[in-house]
């Protein structure tokens, strides 16, 4: 029994710190925002001439109706907020490179949504980025 009691705090200490998980969440948000913005950018928008006030309203209405673009910006704002909260604790030099995981999600999501293809270079790149982020996560548990 005594040994199991001492084992619990050791286990907890070896887990990557909370900030790492928050930045991981950021990368998912960032990738979702990019995909949403890409969808939103495909919406046909009415022509807007800043010098012609009559064209402002239709453009503004179309912008408000472009829910994918709006949602993309909304998710991006949530991402910024989460990143700020994550940076409160933890080392910037440890947390910031984790954002690179966004590249991985965007590549995987692009295959699904935009029919982009996987190839050996992309697969190798994804494996290297995941390996690097895992290394940072392990290092943070010892920091």
């Amino acid at each position: 029994m005594a040994s199991s009691v001492t084992a619990i705090p050791q286990q907890a200490a070896r887990r990557p710190n909370k900030s790492v998980y928050m930045v991981l969440g950021c990368t998912v948000f960032a990738a979702a925002a990019q995909v949403l913005m890409k969808f939103g950018a495909n919406h046909a928008m009415p022509h807007m001439n800043p010098a012609e006030p009559s064209t402002w309203m239709p453009f503004a209405m179309a912008l408000l109706g472009n829910y994918q673009l709006l949602l993309g910006y909304g998710v991006q704002s949530g991402n910024a907020l989460l990143l700020i909260l994550a940076l409160r604790d933890g080392e910037l030099s440890m947390l910031y490179p984790i954002i690179a995981l966004t590249y991985v999600w965007v590549n995987l999501l692009s295959m699904y949504f935009f029919n982009e293809h996987m190839n050996i270079w992309k697969a190798l790149g994804i494996a290297l980025v995941i390996g690097g982020v895992a290394l940072l996560g392990r290092a943070s548990s010892r920091a």
Binding site: Y96, I99, Y103
Partner: protein, 117 residues
């Protein structure tokens, strides 16, 4: 490489530099949150957000010409700058694990860039 003009490379490098300073100010500003969430409106966080958003201007100007597979990985050099600023401003140690992880991530992003050609 020959299809990517030097001006594009310099613009994208500038973007990565501005973005890395954005991260530094976000980190500085985030420290104020420990005094309560209402401190979210502080100058350093505001400046950090401005730099973050502002870095997209030279980036977009840069990627208009040249190859994305060359320019896109260059943005990730921002992680390298951030490593130095973290040492300089926050006295964070530069460890073997950080350098190794950074090397893997940079190599990975270059591979993804090559695969995207």
């Amino acid at each position: 490489m020959t299809k990517t003009p030097l001006s594009s490379i310099l613009l994208v490098l500038l973007a990565s530099l501005i973005g890395s300073f954005g991260a530094v100010f976000l980190k500085m500003g985030a420290a104020h949150l420990n005094r309560g969430f209402r401190h979210i409106l502080n100058g350093q966080l505001g400046f950090g957000v401005v730099l973050f958003l502002g870095s997209s201007v030279p980036f977009v100007m840069g990627v208009r010409h040249g190859e994305l597979s060359v320019l896109y990985p260059m943005v990730s050099l921002g992680y390298v700058w951030t490593l130095f600023w973290s040492k300089l401003f926050f006295d964070e140690p530069i460890t073997k694990a950080k350098l190794g992880a950074l090397a893997m991530i940079l190599a990975g992003i270059i591979c993804i860039g090559v695969g995207g050609r």
